[in-house]
Assembly symmetry: C2
Homo-oligomer: 222 residues x 2
Amino acid sequence: MRRFLSQEAAKRFDDKLMGELGFATESLMELAGLSCAQCIFKEYIPDSVIVVCGPGNNGGDGLIAARHLFHFGFRPTVLYPKPTSNLVLTRLLTQCRVLGIPIVDQLDDYSSFSLIVDAIFGFSFRGDLREPFKTIIQKIKESGKPVVSLDIPSGWDVENGNITGEGLEPNVLISLGVPKLCATYFRGIHYIGGRFVPLSLAEEFQVDLPLYPGSDQIVRIN
Amino acid sequence: MRRFLSQEAAKRFDDKLMGELGFATESLMELAGLSCAQCIFKEYIPDSVIVVCGPGNNGGDGLIAARHLFHFGFRPTVLYPKPTSNLVLTRLLTQCRVLGIPIVDQLDDYSSFSLIVDAIFGFSFRGDLREPFKTIIQKIKESGKPVVSLDIPSGWDVENGNITGEGLEPNVLISLGVPKLCATYFRGIHYIGGRFVPLSLAEEFQVDLPLYPGSDQIVRIN
């Protein structure tokens, strides 16, 4: 890749997609969440999985991933500790409930899950880790379970990586659309998902797009 | 499949998905359009394709399919003869334009395209074929080109098939969610796409869901 996106560029990139380029939040989120679930299916055998969802769009991607994972034969549980009135997320929660996916607002013990999906914070994250997510991230780390992060490993600075040491160290990272700068510090299995970026937008932001095989929505880049 | 859906049941099925089951139109359409593009990629080598879009949701599925086909290496042109003020479709048209996909409102000659995608009418169609679609369907038939229909072969009665003889006779049919009754009269290559139907909804409508392989969004059922 020629260049990863800074936090400010990622924000402008997203605004363009949903502004002048005409995408609905729900469409982009659906493709992002599907991509995440497909990466997880590639890397892990269907089993119990806890999908930890934050209150923003990254959490929405997680809820969609949980739904697709269910259809792929996983047994997802959603940890959603900080409900909001966001209509998009409220509807995504309903879709999970209809499938019988348990939704909990706290979790003390991660030992019964074979995999943890981190959909807590995305590229908008800045500042210090606050509760309840500070403790949740600590517990995830203590669990020793494999972790898959969506777009940004939660707790990482979006440009400079895990500078506080408090962030997760995922086994798999799925960059959505285009990787953000912090991905340069990531040493695990790295996928890009979300095959929706127009070439004109990539050129404007001077980023290369990956070559997706066939009709796949995901591609491993390392 | 135990049972296909009548027109009235298909309407109630769709209303439930987008009502109490919490789905946004854009999410379902995105998964439907992606499924269509993936079926086409399975059956045809990437080449020039004309995607004929009606003014309703079937046309929206077609616009999304055109966008994904572009990313898969096809060279789509969209024929969109009857513009509406529908915001969802307007945004989907923008997404196609951004990719440089030509959008035309009439077409006299289909001979330069190697494939025709029929996204004209969906399961809401009833009554007689009206212009401009009556002539368009006639021209598509006269072209002798292979045709892929989304959900319903345009011109068919949704329950009783091609009873007037005026409808298309597609090579490939992609049923979205659950096949409608007219699919029992279809003798070509039949796929189901749109892996989003909750088991509880299928049971309520007494329809079986297909077994999708792996993390695929499509499955051929004949």
